[in-house]
């Protein structure tokens, strides 16, 4: 490409064609003030503050929208330019209230910064009357149109980045302002309170509403969001050891200047009064505060006693998909070297084991095969069993951007109406649990109509014939009978997907948490390799992870059957590598999975349990059985930030720090390794999980040979092939923005060199029947009279089982109580009206909540969010396992619903 040379303030500089004057100036170190420009947004030249002068023509140009042309002579700060610029700023000030002294935007206000840089004080222009602020009841965002300079950053952020389209210009002239449809408060619009507009607004027109601190902080730390698997870069602003504000971070290859409501306003949990600050030991049914010394001593002695008495396999460890990679690495080493057992698993196993096995078998890589940003280049996107706008908002934004601005076509496969439905080109609504039949049928159509990528299939796959044979019977008509989707639509979807030169599949726990999860994942992978959509620019498989470090916890070997880097524990050679490095001999038999640990505890075979940052009482199915199992343990240590439902059952509770108080890395669902940096000192006596693990190992008399996190990283790099180069990237200084896209990510080639078709069959879901290990008695007998299928999922304003989000006061205030969604027809039949109190009853449990009538749910289906600790939805589930992944079904179960007492008052429960 030919470069373009222009003269900028008397200096010759060159840029590439199409570059704007502003971009080139910034690159050349010349500062041109801007108000409406942002690199993440399309430029519209609205504010004119960036104007510059073309010396040859005398024209004044808005530099943010003017491309450079060869031979241009541009002045950015000539007297004429500064004169006009200052007039513009003064005009803005004339229509702006003189409230700077009391405005909380303070020194962060860009209008004020520019005015003071230019030496402008009060404006001599006649003042223009101002508008009234809008009353909002939401706890997140406050708007004051009188301070608005109409730069439209918020409008563009909402339309181009978050793609909610909640706001746009409203009216014209002096009365113009950004407004929602019908000028209503934000909570009555499409707004999802992502906070992107607030972060971009140059003035005090958009502000955080209920804010912990009103000033400008001096310290800010770039770190990674602790909620979902997207792994957004966030910036924690700190005042007096308090995190007072969260804004989108600078290392934003994932989130591009956006966040979601959880990232922006959900970190309040860090300073929740519920935080544990001292170690607790249970004595006579109540907890007593003790010193670290005492607590660790007790834990060490008990673990040692149990190990000596019942052998190492009577101990088990439950690691956390929320802790850092380093902590998970240390924890598995603790389990294997110090305790001497492979009984270690992490909470994400409940939903991602199907991905690990399914994708592992098919493509030889246990995770997402492409970057989120590449989704925007896809021509066709299949989203199945996932509600990204709630569970992985960044993926939601990306899909919406692809559809809205890049012409991608979305095939949405979801029985429930979600935010994506209105973006879908085809919306298929299969009966719950029939995904395999649908996916097989799509594959069959592609093969029958010759739409497959024959070259790819011949060159890079095997087992094609076997797979074709199983597909025989899955004609669209057959699939229609099972799934309820018209055969015509199945054909259309197959053709659409196969015709695209780059097509992506996005799936989430709606796939992996069914009993047929592993099969569905394989069927999805079959589709992708059939069409050669692996390793292509905009193609691939995106396996959404629910938690921030679900991927990392598994990569680090917090798994019963894998050493770090998915090296099989039963493989002697793999074991030897670790034995040599660690200087111990490792147990060769695979350990117990999370659910097996609980089950064996119930049977008395596990006597001691060490749980870090997990809350099985709420997150596992069948709470009462889990509680029973955990209480029957000899000894349990729970290490957490809060006294969770699980911690209450423990013998010793160790106070852990939040993500804001520690260093380390999280691996997001793409496989990107993101840095976690310490923003504040640990609260009270709490300690980082990694420090606690090291201390406990010391106390047990088997110290782990690490004195710093860097040493842990170095060892990870050495032993985990996927993390090659990662320790180095962690040495980057905080100011360096380019986190290296370290080794973990999929590199485009098939690791094994080929992909394998895995024939899978649709097996009808037999409700309430146990398909676990042989010889095990079912927990419960089947019962009649449960006509509804209850679907569960995440809602945007909460997270996981709600341990943290229910303690984030703004989230809690906005979405205070749980609910069950029911379709209008069903509600009418049962005489249930909106906001009625209802009971949801499954064969194993029952809970009471509020009914919310919505449209968009198929008849006979209910939906409940899992994140409210008061209504433990997972407790309704029986333990029904995926035969291969041994993961429980936590997505759909059979229930009935009944109204309790009189009709409730019809107030709107503002949720979801």
């Amino acid at each position: 490409m030919q470069s373009v040379t222009i003269t900028l303030d008397g200096r010759e500089v060159s840029g590439y064609p199409g570059m704007t004057i502003l971009e080139l100036a910034r690159e050349s170190g010349i500062n041109i003030p801007t108000l409406c420009y942002d690199p993440h947004l399309s430029s519209i030249g609205a504010c004119r503050v960036c104007l510059v002068e073309n010396e040859q023509s005398g024209a004044l140009l808005a530099s943010c929208v003017t491309p450079i042309a060869p031979g241009m002579v541009i002045n950015t700060h000539s007297p004429r330019v500064t004169g006009h610029r200052s007039t513009i700023v003064k005009l803005m000030l004339a229509s702006h209230p003189d409230s700077c002294l009391v405005c909380d935007k303070g020194n962060r206000c860009q209008l004020r910064q520019i005015a003071s840089d230019m030496g402008i004080g009060l404006s001599e222009f006649q003042r223009i009357p101002q508008m009234a602020a809008i009353e909002e009841v939401n706890p997140f965002i406050e708007r004051d149109a009188s301070k608005c300079i109409l730069c439209a950053k918020c409008i563009r952020a909402c339309q181009e980045l978050a793609v909610e389209g909640a706001i746009d210009y409203f009216r014209r002239g002096f009365t113009a302002k950004p407004a929602t449809l019908n000028d209503l408060p934000l909570e009555d619009s499409e707004c999802s309170f992502c906070g992107t507009c607030v972060a971009l607004c140059p003035t005090g027109a958009l502000m955080e509403k209920e804010r912990a601190y009103r000033g400008t902080t001096k310290t800010a730390t770039q770190t990674t969001c602790p909620f979902c698997g997207c792994g957004c870069s966030i910036c924690l602003e700190v005042k007096d050891n308090h995190v007072v504000r969260v804004t989108p971070g600078k290392q934003d290859a994932v989130n591009h200047g956006t966040l979601c409501v959880r990232g922006s306003y959900g970190c309040d949990f860090i300073h929740s009064p519920d935080r544990l600050t001292k170690p607790l030991v249970k004595a006579n049914e109540s907890f007593e505060e003790v010193s670290w010394e005492q607590a660790l001593e007790l834990a060490a002695t008990e673990f040692k006693r149990i190990k000596d008495k019942h052998g190492p396999d009577s101990l088990a460890v439950l690691g956390s998909s929320k802790c850092t990679n380093e902590e998970n690495y240390l924890l598995q080493r603790f389990a294997r070297c110090v305790l001497g057992t492979n009984n270690i698993d992490n909470g994400s196993s409940l939903y991602n084991a199907a991905t690990r096995i399914g994708l592992g078998t098919s493509i030889g890589f246990p995770g997402t095969t492409n970057y989120v940003s590449a989704l925007e280049e896809s021509e066709v996107i299949i989203a199945i069993g996932a509600d990204p706008p709630s569970s992985a908002p960044i993926v939601g934004y990306t899909i919406k951007r692809a559809v809205k601005y890049k012409g991608a076509k979305l095939i949405l496969i979801d029985p429930r109406r979600t935010k994506l439905s209105s973006f879908a080109y085809l919306w298929l609504r299969p009966k719950v649990g029939t995904d395999v039949a649908l996916l097989n049928s799509l594959a069959k159509v592609i093969i029958d109509e010759g739409l497959l990528d024959e070259e790819f299939v011949a060159r890079e796959t095997d087992n094609f014939e076997a797979c074709t044979k199983t597909l025989e019977e899955y004609s669209p008509e057959y699939a229609e009978a099972i799934t309820g989707i018209a055969s015509k639509e199945i054909r259309a979807a197959a053709r659409l997907y196969a015709a695209a030169s780059q097509a992506a599949i996005v799936y989430g726990s709606g796939i992996t948490q069914h009993t047929s999860g592993t099969d569905s994942v394989k069927a999805l992978a079959n589709l992708a390799i059939l069409t050669g959509n692996i390793g292509r620019r905009g193609g691939g498989i995106y396996a959404l992870q629910r938690e921030n470090n679900a991927q990392g916890a598994c990569d680090m070997g917090a798994l019963p059957n894998f050493l770090p880097g998915y090296q099989n524990v039963s493989d002697a050679q793999a074991r030897r590598k670790f034995e040599d490095r660690w200087g111990v001999s490792l147990p060769a038999n695979p350990g117990l999975t999370a659910l097996e640990i609980v089950e064996q505890a119930r049977q008395g075979k596990i006597a001691g349990l060490y749980i870090i940052g997990e809350n099985p009482v709420l997150s596992f199915p069948h709470s009462s059985l889990v509680t029973q199992a955990l209480t029957s343990l000899d000894f349990m240590v729970v290490q957490d930030m809060f006294l969770t439902e699980t911690a209450k059952l423990a013998s010793v509770v160790l106070p852990a720090t939040s993500f804001a108080e520690k260093e380390g890395t999280f691996t997001n669902f793409e496989g990107r390794v993101n840095q976690v940096r310490k923003a504040i000192e640990p609260l009270g006596q709490s300690l980082s999980d990694w420090e606690i693990i090291l201390r406990l190992a010391d106390k047990m008399g088997c110290p782990l040979p690490f004195s710093s996190l860097q040493q842990v990283m170095d060892e990870v790099e050495e032993l985990v092939p996927l993390y090659e180069g990662y320790a180095d990237s962690q040495r980057l200084h905080e100011d360096e923005l380019s986190i290296r896209e370290a080794g973990r990510s999929y590199r485009g080639q098939l690791l094994r060199g080929f992909a394998r078709f895995s024939p899978v069959q649709y097996t009808p879901h037999v409700p309430r029947q146990i398909r676990g290990r042989e010889g095990k008695a079912p927990f419960l007998e089947a019962k009649e009279g449960y006509p509804f299928t209850l679907l569960t999922g995440t809602i945007l304003y909460h997270f996981g089982t709600g341990t943290r989000s229910s303690r984030a006061w703004r989230l809690k205030k906005f979405s205070p109580q749980s609910f069950v969604e029911i379709g209008e027809a069903d509600a009418q039949k049962l005489g249930i009206s909106h906001c009625d109190k209802v009971s949801v009853i499954s064969p194993v449990s029952k809970l009471t909540t509020i009914a919310k009538i919505i449209d968009g749910l198929p008849e006979g289906t209910l939906f409940m969010p899992i994140s409210f600790p008061e209504t433990p939805v997972n407790g309704l589930f029986d333990i029904t396992l995926d035969p291969e992944a041994k993961t429980p079904s936590l997505k759909a179960c059979n229930v009935r619903i009944e109204r309790v007492g009189p009709h409730g008052e019809k107030e709107d429960s503002r949720t979801s």
């Binding site: 339309q159 389209g165 909640a166 706001i167 746009d168 210009y169 409203f170 009216r171 014209r172 407004a179 929602t180 449809l181 019908n182 619009s189 499409e190 809205k404 209105s422």
Partner: protein, 161 residues
Amino acid sequence: MAKKKIVAQADLARIETVIAEYQNERWALLPLLERIQQEFGFIPPSSIGLIAKGLRLFPAQVQGVITFYAQLYTTPRGKNIVRVCRGTACHVRGGKTILKLVKRHLGIQEGEITPDFEYSLETVACIGCCALAPNMVINRNIYGRMNPKKVALIFGQHGRQ
């Protein structure tokens, strides 16, 4: 109010067929809005969502365009639009009095609509024939050299005393 609702509801089906002609054509927003307004006299707010969906725009975007143009209306207007000129030339020649008289005849203020939906009253800044001041326009007809008698006559002729 009730009447307004009924009008809007009856029209929605028709509006949908008009929108269908412009399906997915983002550029067609203005022509579409003009057509709807021509046919129904105004753009019912309840149609904004439909328009947005048809053209694949955000509802707030559609509203932004409607509220930007003074000539696009989201409230019903009378069958006949009366515009009294408040430009300088008309003002000098008694435009203010004409407006007062028209208001009295119609029994409404400017920006309002008669209860029987016959007349809307608006003011304009100039209609481009100052030589005939003071001026008034009803629908597409210009009435120049207005005086109180003429006001009475015109509104008599339009079926009003």
